[in-house]
Symmetry: C2
Subunit: 348 residues, 2 copies
């Protein structure tokens, strides 16, 4: 082993993944696309198979003091299905690996599994396998989703072209504000355990945080509208990070207009209460699991005015970089955050 | 959530998995086989796709005080490929999810990934995706292996018939004795940190423990010998547990002969040194990653005398139960251990 010690934080999440995987090549003829998209693509004869995997760790991805285990199970499945939809695919199977310490009871595991089964049923996927084991500390959940897509329908991160429109589904920043409310009530509870949590009026953002949905409906809608995105990704790390992913994958720049970024009114008012700039929630909050994609300008009429789709900007020449045009007309450079997003609220 | 608290230990590993998954049904026409075998089976047009997943937790599945990270990465891949071979398949892709705390350096992760890449190269599989994230404590590794098998060649756990022969590849108990040697030297080191570990003469069992191989060669051999096993499983939890799996899956009993169970001389002499009955290592030691399968009596001549294959017993009527016939002619009832195997050395 090398004598030098490089801290993980020096590279950050994206840097580390790139560092570890940059020299990996694929050898099997059946491997169509390896590392570097929302899911791997494998040739399965008539169609392509999509494979995506995730690992969720207690204390990093979830806090059981305010996350019901049933919601956690549901969310753990949904976030993986979201990766399959982001390839324009249909998820069909999942495998589930669980590691848990003996502080969990069988009934707790039933709750967790119950949530996973609920999500599986809702999205029409089968739980086909997995591993259950013990852990010396906490809970770890790793899910692999397997999906399918017609060979001529697969959408990668890489296909955007200059001047194409950038479109996002739903609204952004809600999951992050839901998390802030939960963290606040946890702090209140820790200071005064007899206090009842004050969660009234926050249903929407709490659900965005604790029980997100994957946008199966958007994939179906794009099919109905006969829109084939040129590139697509799901929003797990925040809009900033995902816009950069799509632009960089196409060797392009991107321009986003702050006044176009869709946000729910409750997200906006809660973020003001917390002294967080609403746009920051959308750009760096993450965990919204909306879909971000690019379409040709010719498709504008077909998405215009659709309540679930918003055109927020366009692809540009690489020299433009990644820009956010503020309401005041200022141009701010967009930066990806990854792991550190929630710790650096003042940075884009 | 139910008011009653049932401890995980009341059900044990196998009981818990069965409890959580027993009511799971599959809905997708493409799902051929869900939970309950070494890998899930998915229809992929011309052939079947196999999917297997595993999660390895620091402190439970590996101890970094004597496990080099490169070996750990290698082993983490191999144990998953072993599940694909156990379906008579060929692994082609893997995905890798890692969670690690900041006590690991980038160089440490390079070592781990280096081992995974070495195994991927040796077995001809592509690393096609994964997730890398942080952990509040320790290292978690979850790998999903994807393989393929001709539709008429897939071997399940369920196909054994009465009087068929039970065959095992290689030799058993070595990984467990390797672990005992490592644990002893760790204890010596903790008592006197200046002491040098005494590992001489134990190369074979240390390698069995730290850097096991999956029996790709046995699957190829069975193809050459034109032997199609009626059932097959890989030996991850010890011979006892796996024999019961195959027998139970076929609603049969099984008889194993102690004097036939293949063991290396170094495994036998080390186990005597440690006052462990050698057969116990083979029956309950686990982690040997050999293949256990059943063949018709008509195939006996084809495997007879092959240095890598040993006939150790036969399937029997369910009323016989699961029996070990000792060298002294006694019949002992075989019990599966799962999680608790290594803690209960005196039990079968």
């Amino acid at each position: 082993m090398s004598e030098h010690r490089t801290e993980l934080s020096e590279l950050g999440e994206f840097g580390l993944i790139e560092h570890l995987t940059k020299t990996i090549t694929t050898e099997n003829g059946n491997t169509v696309k390896g590392i570097g998209d929302d899911a791997a693509v494998i040739d399965a004869g008539e169609d392509y198979l999509l494979v995506s995997t995730d690992i969720l760790m207690e204390g990093v991805h979830f806090n059981l003091s305010y996350t019901p285990l049933k919601h956690l199970g549901y969310k753990a499945v949904v976030v993986n299905l979201s990766d399959i939809y982001a390839m324009n695919g249909r998820p069909e199977q999942i495998t589930v690996s669980l590691a848990m310490s003996n502080r969990f009871s069988v009934e707790a595991m039933e709750e967790l599994y119950g949530g996973m089964r609920m999500a599986a049923k809702k999205y029409g996927v089968d739980i086909v396998g997995g591993d259950t084991t013990s852990s010396t500390s906490g809970l770890a959940i790793s899910i692999t989703a397997i999906g399918r897509v017609d060979k001529d329908k697969v959408v990668y991160r890489t296909g955007a072209k200059e001047n194409e429109l950038i479109v996002v589904s739903g609204d952004l920043g809600g999951a992050y504000m839901g998390l802030q409310v939960l963290e606040r009530e946890k702090a209140v509870f820790e200071a005064a355990p007899s206090a009842q949590p004050d969660l009234a009026g926050n249903d929407y953002i709490l659900e965005r945080c604790l029980k997100p949905e994957a946008r199966k409906d958007i994939i179906e809608l794009l099919g109905e509208l006969k829109i084939m995105p040129s590139s697509m990704i799901d929003i797990s790390d925040g809009l900033a990070s995902e816009v950069i992913h799509l632009a960089r994958a196409a060797s392009l720049g991107a321009v986003i207009y702050e006044d176009k970024v869709p946000m729910d009114t409750i997200t906006i008012s809660r973020s003001r209460e917390f002294n967080i700039e609403p746009t920051t929630c959308a750009m760096n909050g993450g965990e919204d699991y909306e879909l971000l994609f690019t379409i040709s300008q010719a498709d504008f009429e077909r998405v215009k005015g659709h309540p679930d789709l918003t055109v927020i900007g366009h692809m540009a020449d690489a020299a433009v970089g990644y820009q956010l045009v503020t309401r005041g007309g200022q141009q701010l450079s967009i930066k990806a955050q990854g792991w550190d997003a929630l710790l650096n609220k003042d940075k884009w």
